[in-house]
Amino acid sequence: MTRRLKTTAQLIAFACVAGLLALLVWSVVHQQHAPGVGSVAPSFTLRRLDGSGRVSLASYRGKPVVLNFWASWCEPCKSEAAVLERDWTSYRGRGVVFLGVDYHDLDSDARRFVSAHALTFPMLQDGSGNVTSRYGISQVPETYVLNRQGRVVAHLRGPITDPGFATQFQSAITKAAA
């Protein structure tokens, strides 16, 4: 009887340890990393900030996409907004799509931001940050440039207004649109 009890206790302890190990392995395997240059950008479907339906990244396959992650509470995003709008108006004729992804933000504040900066490209809402974390975003603004196959051409960690990024951004769009 005692021996059976001992074996059962040992089995339970072993199962607990095995479960914890499995959990550790799972979390290591599923850790989010920013997709590197050349890799396929993670797919997503997010709702539009203005509430008029949902947008899927896959629906833009075949077009170069500029994916900009921002938030209304982010100071550098304010200075970047005007430049993004200007670039959007100049590149849209060449089939380049600009998508803004608002991250960890209040809808009302985000809409106010869009209106205050007169942004006209599609804006999506990622309040929970699920999509953003799959892109390995640690701070906003960050921008990805994707080619027609949905592969990452460039990942800019910071505002595209930064002197170092401005030319990199332009050449990435040119490359993505080629």
Partner: protein, 153 residues
Amino acid sequence: MMLRFAAVLVAALVFAAPASACAHPRTSLDYLQGQVMCPTCHTTLDMSDSQAAQQIKGFIAKKVAACWTAQRIESALVANYGQAILAAPSHRGFDLLAWWLPIVGVLAGAIVLAFGVWRWSRRKEPEEPDEPTDSGLDEETERRLDDLLARFD
């Protein structure tokens, strides 16, 4: 003098009106700061001063002033940011596991400990070895051994 008193009274009534308009006890920013997470820094709001946290604190302060209940404010935040915005899991569905598992774990540990103590207390004391009665030697050898040992006395 009367005019000044009337002005103070009117001002008091104007500013007190929103507070008295609450049909329930008003919640507070201080309370909710401990219940809501900062989404970018993964601490509760009261431990964060980030821009995202400041934004949510501003939202809460506005809603508290507008007489929203804590539950309504939390629901609005969950609708915007998802369930992870709350510091504690809800008391519904799968989230219940987060509340019950630690209790079950502590209980299981207590049971195992109690069983171990019970078994330990029941363990027999090792008995004193009896005086050897039989050395296993035959009489002749025993006698010779006694003689031999007697020489050393």
